[in-house]
């Protein structure tokens, strides 16, 4: 064998060694990274981790190969041999360089006397043994890790197991769970993810998916009815719907238990407010165009709305009703909008005595428990009967287009303001005529108020009810405010005084000075109307029973009876209080039981005392995170009970 042959043989061995060593190191790095990652994150190896680990192994292997690239060169291998076999005294290198020399045979013979193989073998051992050891350790680490890559649920399933049942890690499978909440489709179907929550809050009807690690075997979940647990990839999952009332899911894994509170959020019905017309009114004739307007809003989304007109016809004891609805307006899920319509009373063919009730109706898109429906306040328009013409309803009319058939104080003010504005252009005769007309109508209201005031004082029979054919009173005939008592109704008395002054000004064709007292009268009439709603369409007869005369004169006798007692109103709060203090005692002795009790109390408190339920959630979170729960406990207690009542010390110690 020539020197070159020896060197080439050594080169092959060293080359294989370097390659093997690089591969071993690369595989060891990859295996170690995979194993360590699965210990850190037991949810399993994500694709990212796998890719990074493999890349790391490749990089390390490549780096080692690059580091040992000198073995690709024969002369470098020869130098390596010379370095490790100094007794060659560079004969090998010389033999390679002087291949055609006559001294080559002699050099070959010299080289043959040296044991290059032994040196090579030692080098191989030196490189491969550590790499082999590291590789073995890394593979073992991967085998025992929760990753399941080797041995447990992976491909090499039969290569022995290191204790424990197949697929079940030693720890709890109830740690590190994830919850996904998907709102119902009508609410937009938004998804929320929670990591390891103790409480899951969401709209009633939301889909809840709970996921955890490990096999589903042996796990139970109750609500309290049993829930189905399905395998999901390398873990388990439960799917359910958010109920309408708070409840708790109890998860059990062997001796481990965990409770998750479900806190449903109810879909509120819409809110609707009728902004026009603002008030009820009475009309002489059913000729009016009424603008209708309502503001609507909802917490999730509105679907539709309309106005409803309820027309009641009749008198005495016989009434008939019919309903007319406006066309439905679609809101397409908007959270706020307005409803508008215009109502021409003429189109409803109303007659004397008819009553029209108007209201707005809206609904939301709740498909889980049925649409929430909201109705606004009702506005009423009455069509006066002929006999009621003289009974002016002293109410402020709604700001509608002017209708001369509905004469009210506000209307008279508007007419007077118009007269004042036009006064410079009017002739004296016309001014007097218009001012007197307004004055006569104002006087009608004055006389009505006078009648009410004197009736209240018990002198009603002296004042006749004003009638359409009555001659208007002259200024001299008007009763001075000084003789009218207003003890029982100071607001009406103030209105009378102001009306008296206004009529005096109007009757002498001075509309401008009449305006201030007319406005004062309107304000006073409003106050009187709100304080004690006056029904002016004929005061009901007042019968006073002579109690002493009739006492115990009845022939029939009653009999004694037994009453059912009322129940303890706050028993649930007292029970929660007792349980709260018992839970506080448990915190040091048995924290796991205390957490369970916290969850169960939260379920009970969610409907009754939401503030207490929220504070209990903070307590639970603090305990689970290992923080001091005292501030949260203090807040919970304050939410449950009022602060102590503090009193001075007393001689009296009762109770």
């Amino acid at each position: 064998m020539t020197a070159l042959d020896r060197v080439r043989r050594t080169q092959r061995v060293l080359g294989a060694t370097v390659i093997a060593r690089s591969l071993m190191w690369g595989i060891a790095i990859t295996s170690a990274m995979l194993g360590l990652s699965s210990f850190v994150d037991a949810r399993g190896l994500s694709a990212t981790i796998v890719v990074v680990s493999v890349l790391a192994g490749v990089v390390v292997a490549a780096a080692m190969l690059w580091q040992s690239r000198r073995f690709a060169s024969v002369s470098r291998v020869a130098l390596w041999i010379e370095e490790h076999v100094p007794t060659l005294h560079y004969s090998l290198v010389t033999a390679l360089e002087q291949g055609q020399s006559p001294f080559t045979a002699g050099m070959d013979a010299t080289i043959a006397r040296h044991d290059i193989s032994a040196t090579t073998t030692r080098a191989v051992r030196r490189h491969l043994l550590p790499a082999t050891a590291v590789l073995v350790i890394a593979v073992l680490l991967l085998y025992v890790s929760p990753s399941g890559v080797l041995g447990r649920s992976g491909a090499i399933a039969g290569m022995g197991r290191l204790g424990g049942a197949a697929g079940i890690p030693a720890g709890s499978r109830l740690d590190d769970i994830g919850v996904r909440i998907t709102a119902p489709a009508y609410a937009g179907g938004r998804t929320t993810n929670l990591d390891d929550p103790s409480t899951v809050a969401g709209l009633t009807g939301s889909t809840i998916a709970i996921r955890g690690n490990g096999s589903a075997d042996g796990l139970t979940a109750t609500q309290p009815a049993p829930l189905r647990i399905s395998p999901a990839g390398r873990g388990w999952s439960i799917s359910l719907t958010m109920p309408a009332k708070p409840t708790a899911i109890t998860l059990r894994d062997r001796s481990y238990e965990r409770i998750i509170v479900l806190a449903p959020v109810a879909d509120e019905p819409p809110k609707i407010a009728l902004t026009s017309p603002r008030r009820d009114t009475t009309l002489r004739t059913p000729r009016l165009v009424v603008p209708l307007n309502a503001n609507v809003s909802d917490d999730i989304g509105l679907t539709s709305g309309y106005f409803e007109y309820l027309i009641t016809t009749g008198s005495g004891e016989i009434f008939k009703a019919r309903t007319v609805n406006t066309p439905v307006v679609h809101f397409d899920g908007a959270r706020s909008s307005t409803l508008s319509a215009t109502l021409d009373l003429g189109s409803l063919k109303l007659g004397e005595g008819d009553v029209l009730s108007m209201r707005a109706i809206a609904q939301d898109g709740n498909t889980v428990s049925g649409p929430g429906i909201a109705t606004s306040d009702t506005r009423t328009i009455r069509i006066a009967r002929a006999g009621e013409y003289d009974s002016l309803a002293i109410e402020a009319a709604a700001p509608l287009p002017l209708d001369t058939s509905a004469v009210s104080q506000r209307m008279l003010i508007a007419m007077t303001e118009k007269l004042v504005a036009e006064q410079p252009k009017l002739s004296r005769e016309e001014l007097v005529k218009r001012a007197t007309d307004i004055g006569n109508q104002e006087d009608g209201i004055r006389r009505r108020v006078q009648q009410i005031l004197t009736e209240a004082e018990g002198a009603g029979e002296d004042v006749a009810e004003p009638k359409p054919g009555d001659q208007p009173a002259t200024v001299e005939e008007m009763e001075s405010p000084d003789v009218i008592s207003g003890a029982k109704n100071p607001d009406l008395k103030a209105a009378y005084t102001a009306l008296w002054q206004a009529v005096r000004s109007l009757k002498i064709a001075e509309p401008s000075p009449a305006l201030p007292p007319m406005r004062v009268a309107l304000a006073a009439l409003d106050r009187a109307r709100l304080a004690n709603r006056l029904y002016l369409r004929g005061a009901p007869p007042k019968i006073v029973v002579n109690i002493e005369r009739v006492r115990m004169t009845g022939k029939d006798k009653g009999s004694s009876s037994v009453r059912t007692p009322r129940s303890f109103a706050d028993s649930a709060r007292v029970d929660l209080s007792r349980r709260f203090y018992a839970m506080v005692d448990l915190l040091e002795k048995d924290p796991a039981r205390a957490l369970t009790e916290l969850a169960l109390m939260r379920v009970q408190a969610l409907q009754m005392i939401p503030g207490f339920a929220a504070a209990l959630g903070e307590v639970s979170d603090a305990i689970r995170a290992g923080r001091d729960a005292t501030p949260a406990l203090l807040r919970a207690r304050r939410a449950l009970e009022a602060p102590p009542e503090v009193r001075p010390l007393s001689q009296w110690s009762g109770g």
């Binding site: 115990m552 007692p565 406990l633 010390l649 009296w652």
Partner: protein, 403 residues
Amino acid sequence: MRRRLEYVLRGAVLATLALMLWFASQSSRDAQSAMVDSHGVGASALNQWSRAPVAPQRINLQLTSIPSRIERAWLSALAAAGSVVTWRGGLTPVMVAIEPVAAPHGGATARAAAPDASAIVIGDEIGALDSARIRQSGATFVLGAASDSVTVRANGSVASAALRDSVSLRKVLVIGAAGWEPKFTAAALEEEGWKVDLLARVAPGVEVTSGAPATIDTSRYSAVIALDASAAPYASRLTEFVRAGGGLIIAPPAAAAAAMVTLRAAGPDAIVLEKRGAATSVAAKRLGAGRVIQIAYEDTWRSRMNGGDSAVANHRRLWTNLVSNVAYAPRVARATANPADDGTSVDDAAPLADLTASIGSPTSAKVSALTGRSRSSWTVLLFLVLTLALLGEVASRRFRGVS
């Protein structure tokens, strides 16, 4: 020069050693004084005094806070063993007593006493409940359900008490003519958990009842509420009931009935519980073993109907407080609370009084001449001086080249 310095340092070493030897000899002598820092007596000092071969003849303590119950007991034991224990210090007296509220929902009343104008904080096992500034030497706190024990802190002094009893309640009897006041009074009490018998007269011989109104005695009723003259026929029975320990509440129309005159809370033995301006609105008196409260409020139902958001709760509380204040409610022992693990027992109702009882009133005896320093700190200081002097001499000799 350097040599002189070395001699001085050597002298200092010898002097320090001598002083330390002298201190050691002093500690075995009879007289010993101790100064206690602001954090209390301390287990280590007590331990040291107890383990000394010869008991200290005199222990003078300068206290800035009241020692704990165990520490007080220990001092008392040292005093009984022959040491004269004296103390001085401006300690704040504080005291607390807790007893159950006679009401179905439970709860407790804690009475705390402390010097006027002191700020006290009352708390339980969870934390602080409330605070108050003391007027007229004390305050009463009405606590919610299930506070097993309370502590009261004032200027560093801490008193604590545990709730040892609960109460056994009977029913309440409400007597009146059918009307809003009997209806709402019975409703308020039932809604608070009381068992109520109602006797409401509708017509002569016709009554509406709930429960089974029975003989009025303390085996059946804790209290009776007489709302109007309907109660007059029962006046003598009510008198016997109250004398036997029962409780009675009289409303103005009932008090006006002539038959009820002996039951009225009037006269020199009546205690005014509440005034509205110059008028007495609630007064009480003891009659035999029982109690009577007379109220001037008529138509309390109006406050329930007319009031704000808490009107119903206030109405219930009004009636339950009135009944609690007179109710016949015998005590029942409950399971005692375990002492706290930190060595302080839950029951320490009057710590300053207990200290005085254990080791006597405070004195003006001064502590030892080593004012402001304990013996152990002197020892440390001397050791430092010794070490520095020794090191200084050695260093000097080295620099001179002398070994």
